[in-house]
């Protein structure tokens, strides 16, 4: 009973959040070579803002959104009751342990594979943390590679989020309305005999290729 109320409330908050992010960022959503569809996918995106997950999630059509689960750090999302509510009831995140010593039996790749086997799509940030540098992308962690090895049939879709860090730069509390763009690229798959290094470089390049031509900002 309590569980179902929490789920229902989570769903409601999710719809409200998607509405707020649409109002703030009026996102322009561009599907380049991979139309939104019911196929199972792993969306991998650049990470510059806490709201990245929400924006990708809100950019997906509602029917797909419901079956798409962000992958996120357990230590962050289990810190207090409010975060736990957002992490589980609103986003239904796949929670993974970042610290290998605390993992116990839970192996992140196995957790993600399980979620895929249950029929979900996933959102992951392969850089592993927020990028505060001037470089467009940090080097990818190996998670994406292991994921691609474990479930080679699943489409890996690069997603470039443009301008969201302008809406609420790190350390700020009040967001400002600015238009954002979300580019969904063409699916990437593991090539036969491809090694980790080569695959991650290729996946990273596929994401970087989505970056729109930038004006030289201050």
């Amino acid at each position: 009973m309590l569980k179902s109320i929490e789920r229902w409330l989570g769903h409601l908050v999710g719809v409200a959040l998607a509405g707020v992010i649409h109002l703030l960022t009026a996102p322009r959503i561009i599907w380049m070579g991979s139309p939104p569809g019911a196929r199972q996918r792993v969306y991998y995106a650049n990470h510059t803002s806490n709201a990245d997950t929400v924006l990708i999630w809100a950019a997906l059509p509602p029917t797909i959104r419901r079956r798409t689960r962000p992958v996120a750090a357990a230590d962050y999302w289990l810190k207090n009751r409010l975060r736990k509510f957002f992490g589980t009831a609103v986003f239904n995140t796949v929670l993974i342990q970042r610290d290998p010593n605390q993992r116990g039996d839970d192996n992140p790749v196995a957790q993600m594979s399980d979620a895929i086997d249950e029929g979900s799509s996933l959102i992951i940030f392969p850089e592993g943390r927020r990028n505060d540098t001037e470089a467009p992308l940090l080097p990818f962690k190996s998670g994406l590679f292991h994921m691609a090895c474990a479930r080679p049939e699943v489409d890996l879709i690069p997603v470039w989020i443009d301008n969201l860090n302008g809406v609420m730069p790190r350390g700020e509390v009040i967001p400002v309305p600015l238009i954002c763009q979300v580019f969904f690229g063409e699916a990437v798959h593991m090539a036969p005999d491809e090694d980790k290094e080569a695959f991650l470089t290729r996946a990273s390049a596929a994401l970087e290729a989505l970056i729109p031509v930038q004006e030289d900002d201050a």
Binding site: A26, R28, G166, V176, P177
Partner: protein, 315 residues
Amino acid sequence: MKGEMLDLMRHLAWVGVLLLLASLVSEVLAQRPRIKKFAPVARNLRARARGWWTMAGVVALFYLPGPGGVLFLFAIVSMGALRELLTLTTRHKADHWAFVASFFVVLPIQYLSIWFDWYGFYAVFIPVYGFFLLPMLSVLRGRTHRFLSRVAETQWGLMVAVFCTSHLPALLYVDIPGFEGGNLLLTIFLVLVAQSADMFQHAASVAFGKTPIAPVISQSRTWEGFALGVMAAFVLGGLLSWLTPFGILPAAFMAAAIAGCGSMGRLVMAAIKRDRGVKDWGHMNDGQGGFIDRLDSVIFAAPIFFHLTRFFWAV
């Protein structure tokens, strides 16, 4: 009071008839264009005419509770326009406070002071107080790189999206002797003339255009189109003078002023788009661009029209 309301209603009914006519003509023209090169013009006219009905419906809905409703509507429009402009400006996260202040302090104060009819304040608030406040907020964050570009572009965005735009609903609060209760018609006059002038200019450029005003920005905006557009607006203004307290000839001159400012304003906004490499300011669902794309000429004409009206006709 009742007499005034009836009068306003009768005028609005006539505006409705005009819109209906324009819509009919546009639908017919777009269905079977007589001359091939006018086909895009006809389609553009149809898209606009359809947009006008949406606009008229929304404005009518917000006018139900009174002028304050329309003022609120334009505060939202300003917010949308400012969002589009600041998205394209030179900026850094050191400008975040200035942006927060622009959206959540400057914009509400501008519209509230119109609501309270503090003309002496809202006419100078952004050009004077905003001009000092925002660079201060940016300088406190201590980043100097491209400082002048950053503060100048933020200020310019506020001038266009908030200051200029707010002068359209401000027309509702101008006291014109003998025209009480009819101010909504002035805003309709402004929008109708500015939008029609755009269209006349477009059509005339296609038909007679030879000399582009600024070839780098647009090949389709020509001096011939500009001149004919302003002349057509002059005639239209005379024909629509019953919407205004001006009288026929002054209404015609006002309309020419609106058309001149509006056309040049459009060109200015097109130059910014060209420089930033975008086709449209925003991306609303109907493919007509954003707030600024559809209101640019009105936004630029609004302050001039407002001040001319106030200077010659208000108490």
